[in-house]
């Protein structure tokens, strides 16, 4: 299978960082997931061959880390922190609202493949709780209204991109 040149560049650069090949597995999986959207069987097979691992070993690592997934996700992966600081400042309410607004449960993806929802442990934004991470972006000091705003913006952007 083919990856982008950017991926290949990163991959070959990383290989030089470690004494053994298998050490680059975790960052490589992250890059591959960013590029493909999720870790398909094809990706797993390809990386296993490249790194002289078994597919089973690659799967073991993927199943260990919650940020790695073998199922397709929406374009915006909404990760709501419900750890203690956020929870005290209303994260549960926000999470409930997200479920209602998107109409999916945790680890669910909306039918238009735009959003998927996840409940996560502390994302390190306690000072600005409650916080939500959408893909790699943080959104802080949220309320239900702000959340709605965020969804609208994402939806607009997503639909525009799709129509391009």
């Amino acid at each position: 299978m083919r990856f982008s040149d950017e991926f290949e560049g990163r991959f070959s650069e990383m290989l030089s960082h470690y004494p053994t090949k298998r050490s680059v597995l975790v960052p490589t999986l992250l890059y591959a997931q960013d590029e493909v959207g999720y870790l398909s069987d094809e990706v797993i097979a390809e990386l296993a061959t490249r790194l002289d691992l078994t597919e089973l070993e690659v799967r073991n690592v993927i199943s260990y880390y919650s940020m790695l997934t073998t199922k397709a996700r929406g374009k915006y992966n909404v990760q709501v922190c419900t750890n203690i600081s956020c929870m005290l400042r209303g994260a549960e309410e926000i999470f409930e609202h997200c479920k209602k607004r998107l109409g999916v449960g945790p680890h669910g993806t909306t039918p238009d493949n735009l959003f998927s929802l996840e409940e996560v442990e502390c994302i390190g934004a306690c000072s600005w709780a409650p916080a939500v991470q959408v893909n790699y972006d943080f959104h802080e000091n949220l309320t239900v209204d702000k959340m709605d705003q965020l969804f609208d913006e994402c939806k607009k952007e997503g639909t525009q991109l799709r129509n391009l």
């Binding site: 090949k21 298998r22 002289d52 691992l53 078994t54 089973l56 070993e57 073991n60 199943s63 260990y64």
Partner: protein, 785 residues
């Protein structure tokens, strides 16, 4: 390494630096319980069962990962430690089902033992247990997830020790689960090591599942009857309608040369014994059909016909074919029987390696034959040809783990990218069929390098120089190297200090068959027919001209000069491609378990016992001799030994001259002829031997002829007591220097893989079920650094 002094529970312990605390404790008899720790596997520290108090350390330490240091003071049995163990067991039992009464591991479960020794009677956990259904991962491996305690032993033994990497751990924390490599099933070597090493009943064997319980069986440690490596397998036997049924095989007795290892054949492929197609009555051909008969009638007929042919046409009109799977005693007896009773030297077997040439090349180097144990300890190993992973699984295990644990250097020269290349320091690919040239080149014939394909001459010279520089090199080769190539290789080895050799034969007693002289031109111990003086004194009169080999026998039968053909436990028609119609005017007697292609054309078929149903000795391909004990029993079959003696008797020969039994004044068969059935009987045998009281009262007692073998066959004068105690003894390879004149074309390697095993494999349900379940294309080879 320097020694370190520590104190454990007030006892002074001295151990080499680098020793783990748990091992140091064990060395003075202090048991530290653990699940995940297993000697020779990587450390895991997962089960937390081995927590001990180490002074000046703030918390309890895991003894399995703590390396001892000077002055360390450890306490393994105070209240704190006991409480910790109790809590660990309680946690492990949190979701472990209490189905011990149905669990296969019940009675030999480490968790049971630990709960009994260290656990609490009550649990604080009230939650309902989380049940998951049992999964079948392969025809022989079942996984019961709730029973798993996540010690990861199976994962490590499969990956590190077997180099298969078929098991892994998925998810993390409380939801961790052992997973097979192909989503819901395994694609692996099916060795069953994971089942053996599992401390609980999470991984269970498909063959033994729910059949019986460990204390209901007798456990007999005997030698596997499949490949030539000679693993010790412990067979669990139970009384059945027709005798003793073998219910399971495992390696609970780790004293064998195989230590922890057994492959699929040693573990599961004992079931050919109960195959419904097994012959259990003597068959005599009447009106063109094989019809059931009685033993008396069969022996009488065979004795009469053989004596007739011998007296009328001379011994040359009778041919004998021996087996690679009968014991040394039977092979020796057959060799003697053919020459002394039938007066023929036409005796042969399926040759799977050029042992005579090997013995000849080893003249003057009696200690240069490596043992199977040596292979695990040698600093350097050279493997030319063969694929040990498939054909000699134990040898591959020894090599692999030697490389892993002792950093041995492995050199592989092969025409295929065999799996052992992954452990190799150097892998050199050569064109198919040029193993002999490689040997010749190493032996100094530089011109042979041209045949060796793409590798440059400098590369080959460099490799040879490097190998010459290796001390204590073990050189391993198979039947691809024959005749003068063997002497070239041995010559090369002589230049290396302390070099040893292994010549690989394919079946469980191929080496024994060769050593016992199943050759038309060699007597036992590779002594040429012409030089028979020692044997003449003992055996009496015998023919002096070399006899016919197997293919010559077939030609003679076709030409009408071979009138009698006696086949013991072999299938020359199916295996060597002899023309069955050539024998249509020959009186053919076959001793076998099944109606093989050869048995189908026989005039008399005698049902024989297999190696699991009789006693004797086997010599493995390295020359390690080991005791074979009787485990199973099927009524109405006889051992080949007894049948040979009875046929000799029926020809009118005085049996005492064939088997020197009795003669010590005792007058009872003390059980040896029936074989040892339990550990107690084994010890009794050793005791009798130690006091010079071995009775050998019956002419069917193989031990009676073992005396003669030990006396007459060079290299077999090993310690009888050690042999009887179940230890492996190394025979020294002593040739006469005249063995290299064999026709190399007669060697027919078995080419069995992990899941086939000649005739036995054809009738093994376990092996066949695994073969049926495999993908047509070979399993994808895996690698790990």
């Amino acid at each position: 390494m320097a020694d370190v002094n520590i104190t454990v529970d007030g006892k002074k312990v001295t151990a080499p630096a680098g020793t783990l605390l748990i091992e140091a404790c064990k060395s003075v008899g202090i048991e530290v319980p653990s699940f995940c720790y297993y000697p020779n596997l990587s450390l895991q520290g997962a089960c937390r069962m081995c927590l001990v108090k180490v002074e000046k350390m703030p918390k309890l330490q895991t003894a399995c990962t703590t390396v001892i240091s000077e002055g360390m003071i450890a306490i393994t049995n105070n209240d704190e430690v006991r409480q910790a163990r109790k809590s660990m067991v309680e946690l492990l039992l949190g979701n472990h089902p209490l189905d011990c009464p149905v669990c296969d591991a019940g009675g030999e479960c480490e968790l049971q033992d630990m709960t009994f020794s260290y656990g609490a009677a009550e649990s604080k956990f009230m939650e309902a247990k989380n049940h998951k259904d049992e999964q079948q991962w392969s025809p022989v491996v079942y996984f019961d997830r709730p029973r798993c305690i996540l010690c990861y032993r199976c994962v490590r033994v499969c990956g590190e020790a077997m180099d298969v990497w078929a098991l892994g751990v998925q998810n993390r924390g409380v939801v961790s689960v052992i997973a097979p490599n192909k989503e819901d099933h395994l694609e692996c070597e099916e060795c069953g090591m994971c089942i053996d090493i599992c401390p609980v009943g999470a991984l269970t064997s498909g063959a033994y599942r729910y059949k019986t319980r460990p204390w209901e069986m007798n456990h007999v440690g005997t030698i596997c009857t499949h490949c030539g490596d000679g693993c010790k397998t412990t067979l669990g036997v139970r009384r059945s309608d027709s005798g003793m049924q073998i219910v399971r095989g495992d390696n609970r007795d780790k004293s064998g040369i195989n230590g922890d290892f057994l492959c699929i054949k040693g573990r599961y492929a004992f079931d050919f014994a109960d195959d419904p197609q097994r012959v259990t009555t003597p068959l005599i051909r009447r009106d063109g059909q094989l019809a059931p008969s009685t033993w008396e009638e069969a022996f009488e007929l065979i004795g009469k016909r053989f004596a007739e042919i011998r007296d009328k046409e001379g011994g040359r009109a009778i041919g004998v074919v021996g087996s690679n799977r009968t014991t040394n005693e039977e092979n020796y007896l057959l060799s003697k029987f053919a020459r002394v009773v039938l007066k023929t030297n036409s005796i042969d077997h399926r040759r799977t390696a050029d042992f005579p040439a090997f013995a000849a090349a080893m003249v003057g180097k009696p200690h240069a034959a490596a043992t199977m144990r040596d292979v695990f300890n040698a600093p350097a190993i050279l493997v030319i040809g063969n694929n040990p992973t498939e054909q000699h699984p134990l040898l591959a295990w020894q090599i692999r783990n030697n490389v892993r644990l002792h950093r041995a250097r492995l050199y592989v020269i092969n025409s295929r990218p065999i799996k052992l290349r992954r452990q190799a320091t150097s892998f050199t690919e050569i064109p198919q069929g040029t193993e002999g040239q490689a040997a010749a080149f190493l032996g100094g014939d530089d011109s042979a390098a041209e045949a060796l394909g793409s590798g440059s001459r400098e590369m080959w010279v460099g490799l040879r120089d490097k190998l010459r520089g290796e001390g204590k090199l073990i050189i391993i080769f198979d039947s691809a190297i024959r005749g003068k190539d063997i002497s070239a290789l041995v010559k090369f080895g002589s230049a290396v200090s302390g070099a040893k050799f292994v010549c690989l034969g394919d079946y469980s007693n191929s080496r024994g068959a060769a050593d016992m002289g199943l050759y038309p031109d060699f007597l036992p111990g590779y002594r040429p027919i012409a030089d028979a003086s020692t044997f003449k004194d003992e055996w009496g009169d015998m023919p002096t001209a070399p006899g016919l080999n197997v293919s010559q026998m077939a030609e003679a039968a076709a030409a009408g000069t071979l009138k009698g053909f006696y086949v013991v436990g072999s299938n020359p028609v199916g295996g060597l491609g002899l023309d069955p119609f050539a024998f249509s005017n020959t009186f053919v007697v076959v001793q076998d378990m099944f109606l093989t292609e050869t048995a189908q054309m026989a005039d008399v078929v005698l049902p024989s016992a297999n190696a699991y149903e009789k006693a004797g000795t086997f010599t493995n391909t390295c020359g390690d001799i080991q005791l074979v004990k009787k485990a199973g029993e099927v009524s109405d079959v006889k051992s080949d030994f007894e049948m040979i003696v009875r046929i000799a008797d029926a020809t009118g020969f005085e049996v005492r001259k064939l088997v020197p039994f009795g003669g010590r004044g005792t007058s009872a068969d003390m059980g040896q002829s029936r074989g040892a059935q339990s550990g107690e009987a084994d010890r009794h045998v050793v005791w009798l031997e130690a006091h010079g009281l071995e009775p050998k009262m019956s002419p069917f007692d193989p031990m009676a002829i073992l005396d003669e073998i030990q006396r007459l066959v060079p290299g077999y004068d090993v310690s009888r007591m050690n042999l009887l105690a179940g230890n492996d003894q190394h025979t020294t390879t002593v040739g006469t220097g005249q063995g290299g004149v064999q026709d190399a074309k007669l060697i027919a390697p078995a080419n069995d893989n992990l899941f086939t095993s000649g005739t036995l494999g054809r009738y093994s349900r376990a092996l066949n079920s695994v073969i049926e379940n495999r993908n047509p294309e070979p399993a994808e080879e895996v690698a790990a650094d």
